[in-house]
C-alpha cells in the first residue's frame, strides 16, 4: 500500500492555476523526484501537501489517514518532515536547539511541566537532546552543535535543516532543492548523506531538484512538472528520453 498519496489536487492563486490535477503515490522507502522549470509549481505542491496552503480541490492521504486541510504542525507530527528551498532557520538559535525543537510533538509534559520544571520535563528533554545529538552526529554537525546557525557556512545550514526535519522521525522526508548554491564537493557530500539517511532510517524521500546528476543517481521514479501540470512520469531513463520533457525543460540544458 502506498505511504503517501495525492489525488487530483488543484490550487490557484487568484487567477493563476499553480497546480492542476496533480497525482502522486509514494511507497515506503521509495525516493521520488520532482523536476521542472522555474515557476512550474513544485514548491507549491510541497506547501499544499504539508498544509501551508489548503488545496482548492483534491485529497492527501498519509498512511491511510486523510490529512487534507490539517494545520502544518498536525501534518508534521503525523510523519511528514520537510526542508525549505530558501533556508528557514531560526536565526538566534543554536544547531542543537533547532533539532531539539523539532521534537516538540513528542513532549507531553505540558505548560505546567515547563513552568515548574517537573521531573517529567527533565526526563523528556534529556531524551530529546539525546535523539538530537544522534542526528547531529549523523549529519556531521557535532562540532557545530552549540553554534548559533547564522554563523555557519551555507552547506552546514542546509544540513541543519535536514537534521531538524529528521528529528520529526518522518515517514516521508520532503527536500526542496537541497543542492541549490552548492559546490561540486558539497554536492557529493549531500548525496552521500541522503543515501545514508535513506539507508539507515529507511524513510521515503520526495525531492525537488534541478540538477540531473542528482536525480539520476538517487531517484527511482521521477515526475516532470511544467506550468502546474505533470507532463511525464517514469524512471529516470524514461524521463531523460521523453521528447516532451526534452522540449519543455531539458532542451537547452543538455542532459548530463
Amino acid at each position: 500500500m502506498a505511504l503517501l498519496t495525492v489525488e487530483n489536487m488543484t490550487h490557484s492563486f487568484g487567477g493563476l492555476t499553480a497546480v492542476r490535477n496533480y497525482d502522486l503515490s509514494i511507497s515506503p522507502g521509495q525516493i521520488v523526484g520532482l523536476i521542472g522549470p522555474n515557476g512550474a509549481g513544485k514548491t507549491t505542491i510541497f506547501n499544499l501537501i504539508t498544509g501551508i496552503y489548503a488545496p482548492d480541490q483534491g485529497r492527501v492521504v498519509l498512511n491511510g489517514e486523510d490529512i487534507t486541510g490539517l494545520r502544518p504542525h498536525e501534518i508534521a507530527s503525523r510523519g511528514l518532515g520537510r526542508t525549505f528551498q530558501d533556508l528557514r532557520l531560526w536565526r538566534h538559535m543554536t544547531v542543537l536547539e533547532h533539532v531539539m525543537l523539532a521534537r516538540y510533538s513528542r513532549l507531553d509534559y505540558g505548560m505546567w511541566g515547563a513552568f515548574w520544571g517537573t521531573p517529567r520535563r527533565w526526563r523528556q528533554e534529556a531524551a530529546a537532546e539525546k535523539k538530537a545529538r544522534e542526528l547531529i552526529a549523523m549529519l556531521g554537525l557535532s562540532h557545530l552543535a552549540d553554534q548559533v546557525v547564522i554563523n555557519l557556512p551555507y552547506g552546514a545550514q542546509r544540513r541543519v535543516e535536514m537534521a531538524r526535519a529528521l528529528a520529526l522521525e518522518p515517514k516521508v522526508l520532503f527536500l526542496d532543492e537541497p543542492t541549490v548554491g552548492m559546490t561540486p564537493e558539497e554536492l557529493d557530500q549531500i548525496i552521500a548523506i541522503i543515501k545514508r539517511v535513506h539507508r539507515e532510517l529507511g524513510l521515503a524521500i520526495f525531492i525537488i531538484e534541478h540538477r540531473l546528476k542528482f536525480v539520476m543517481e538517487l531517484c527511482q521514479r521521477l515526475q516532470c512538472l511544467v506550468f502546474g501540470e505533470v507532463i511525464a512520469r517514469g524512471t529516470p531513463e524514461e524521463i531523460q528520453n521523453d521528447p516532451k520533457v526534452i522540449e519543455a525543460y531539458l532542451g537547452e540544458e543538455k542532459v548530463a
Binding site: I52, A76, L89, H92, Y104, M111
Partner: protein, 434 residues
C-alpha cells in the same frame, strides 16, 4: 575610527585587569560581601555620615544627593567608598576560597538547596539595607515589582518578538482584582462595608488574592489573544494598546470600585519578604519556561513562524499560552503594587506606565532574564536619581534609551540564557589535592 577601536580595546583590557582580583569570587562571595557592607552601614553608617558632614545616610548610594545637593557629593562619594566599595572588594576578594568551598559543598545537594541558600543571603542583605529607612523599603519593593513586570513583558516583546502594549492594563486588572478581594474580606471600607473575615487570616489568603489578580489578567489576555493571533500580521500592538485604554476607562466608570477616585484601604500585606518571595518565584518560573522546549517554541515563532509550524510546533497554542502566562505575572505584580501603595487609581495604569515598562525591557535586553532584572533595577534607580529634574527626567530617560538602541539595538544584556547551576557554581576548578 581606528583610534576609537584602540580606546575600546584599551578600556576592555583595563577592565579585565581591574576585575582580575575578583575572577575567582562566586555568587556566594558577592552575597557575603553585600551583607558585610549593609551590616557595616547599619552599625557605623550614621556616625560616618555625620563625620563626613552629611545630614543622614545617603539613601540610594548617593544617586539622589548628586542632583539635589551637589556640595555634598565629595562626602557622599567618601561614604559610598568606605561603606560599600572597599568592604565589598575586600570581602569578595578574601572570602573567595571559603565561598568557593561552600558553593561546591552546596551543589552536592539538589540545586534547590543551593538556590535557597543564595536567596536567603540575598534577602538578608536587602532586608538590612531596607531597614535604614521607609524610603528604601518602598523603593526596593517597587523595584522588585518592576522586575516582575519587565520580565513578563520580555516574554512577549523579547522571547516571542511581538509588540504588546497591554501590560498596564493587565497590571490594573491584577491590582483591582486583588484589592477587591482583600479590601472586601479584611477591611472595613466605605465601598465594601465591614470586614468579613478576621485580619489574622489575611496574610495566608494574600497569595490567593494575588493569584486571583493574575488569573483575571490572564482572562483579559485571552480577549486580546483571540483576535490578534487568529491571523498573522501585526495586530497585537494596536489591539493591546486599545486594551490598556479600555481597561483604564472601564475602571474609571465603575463606581463600586471607586471610579476615578481610586480604591484605598488595602491591608498592609505586601511586606518586603512577601514581595521578595513572589518576585523570586516569578523569576524562577519564567526562567523555567523560557529555557524549556515549549518555551523556546516562542523563539521559533518569532524567528520563523512557517518553519516552526512545519517542525510540528503548535504556534497558536504557543502564542496563546505565552501571552496569558505573561499577563498572569503582570496581574500578580499589579496586585502587589496595589498593596505596597495601599491605594490605586486608574490614572496610574496609563501610557506613562507603559513607557516605563517598555524602557526597562528594551534597556535591559531582549530575550534575557538577567537583562530584564538589570533593566528594571537600572531604570528604577535612574528614575529616583533624576527625580529632582522633574519633567526633564522624561527627556533624559528616553534619550538614554535612544543611545542604548543605537549602540546595542537589542539592549544591554540581550539573548543570554540564565543558567542557574552555572551562576551558583564555584569559580575555580576543583583542586585535586590541597
Amino acid at each position: 575610527m581606528a583610534a576609537l577601536h584602540h580606546a575600546k580595546a584599551g578600556f576592555k583590557g583595563f577592565m579585565r585587569k581591574a576585575w582580575s582580583p575578583f575572577a575567582a569570587t562566586p555568587a556566594l562571595g558577592w552575597l557575603l560581601s553585600a551583607l558585610a557592607a549593609v551590616l557595616l552601614e547599619k552599625w557605623l553608617g550614621l556616625a560616618l555620615a555625620h563625620a563626613l558632614g552629611l545630614p543622614k545616610i545617603p539613601m540610594l548610594f548617593g544617586f539622589i544627593i548628586a542632583l539635589k545637593k551637589p556640595f555634598l557629593i565629595p562626602g557622599t562619594l567618601a561614604f559610598v567608598f568606605i561603606i560599600y566599595l572597599l568592604p565589598m572588594a575586600l570581602v569578595a576578594r578574601f572570602s573567595a576560597p571559603l565561598a568557593n568551598r561552600a558553593s561546591r559543598a552546596l551543589l552536592k545537594a539538589p540545586l534547590a538547596v543551593s538556590a535557597l541558600v543564595h536567596l536567603a543571603l540575598l534577602y538578608a542583605a536587602l532586608h538590612v539595607w531596607a531597614e535604614v529607612s521607609d524610603y528604601r523599603d518602598i523603593t526596593l519593593r517597587l523595584t522588585m515589582i518592576a522586575v516582575m513586570l519587565t520580565l513578563s513583558l520580555n516574554v512577549i516583546n523579547g522571547y516571542m518578538g511581538e509588540f504588546s502594549c497591554s501590560h498596564p492594563g493587565f497590571m490594573a486588572l491584577g491590582a483591582y482584582a486583588a484589592s477587591v478581594f482583600t479590601v472586601g474580606l479584611f477591611a472595613s471600607d466605605r465601598l465594601f462595608g465591614a470586614a468579613l473575615l478576621p485580619p489574622q487570616l489575611a496574610p495566608f489568603l494574600f497569595p490567593l488574592a494575588l493569584a486571583l489578580g493574575g488569573l483575571v489578567a490572564s482572562l483579559g489576555a485571552l480577549l486580546i489573544a483571540v483576535p490578534s493571533f487568529r491571523t498573522r500580521g501585526d495586530y497585537l500592538a494596536i489591539i493591546s494598546l486599545a486594551f490598556t485604554f479600555i481597561v483604564k476607562s472601564l475602571i474609571e466608570n465603575l463606581e463600586w470600585v471607586g471610579g476615578p477616585r481610586g480604591l484605598s484601604s488595602q491591608p498592609d500585606l505586601a511586606s518586603l519578604p512577601m514581595v521578595f518571595a513572589v518576585c523570586a518565584l516569578c523569576v524562577w518560573v519564567i526562567n523555567n519556561f523560557v529555557t524549556s522546549i515549549l518555551g523556546k517554541a516562542t523563539n521559533a515563532v518569532r524567528d520563523d513562524e512557517t518553519a516552526a509550524e512545519a517542525m510540528s510546533i503548535n504556534t497558536r497554542r504557543t502564542k496563546m499560552a505565552a501571552f496569558m502566562f505573561s499577563a498572569f505575572w503582570a496581574g500578580v505584580a499589579g496586585g502587589l503594587f496595589a498593596h505596597v501603595l495601599r491605594y490605586v487609581n486608574p490614572a496610574t495604569f496609563g501610557i506613562q506606565k507603559l513607557a516605563e515598562v517598555l524602557a526597562m525591557v528594551y534597556f535591559g535586553g531582549l530575550n534575557s532574564v538577567l537583562g530584564s532584572v538589570v533593566g528594571a533595577v537600572g531604570i528604577s534607580i535612574l528614575g529616583e536619581a533624576l527625580r529632582p529634574l522633574e519633567i526633564f527626567k522624561w527627556i533624559l530617560i528616553p534619550l538614554l534609551l535612544i543611545l542604548v538602541m543605537i549602540f546595542r539595538p537589542t539592549g544591554l544584556i540581550a539573548f543570554r540564557e540564565f543558567n542557574l547551576r552555572r551562576v551558583l557554581s564555584p569559580k575555580e576548578p576543583p583542586q585535586g589535592r590541597s
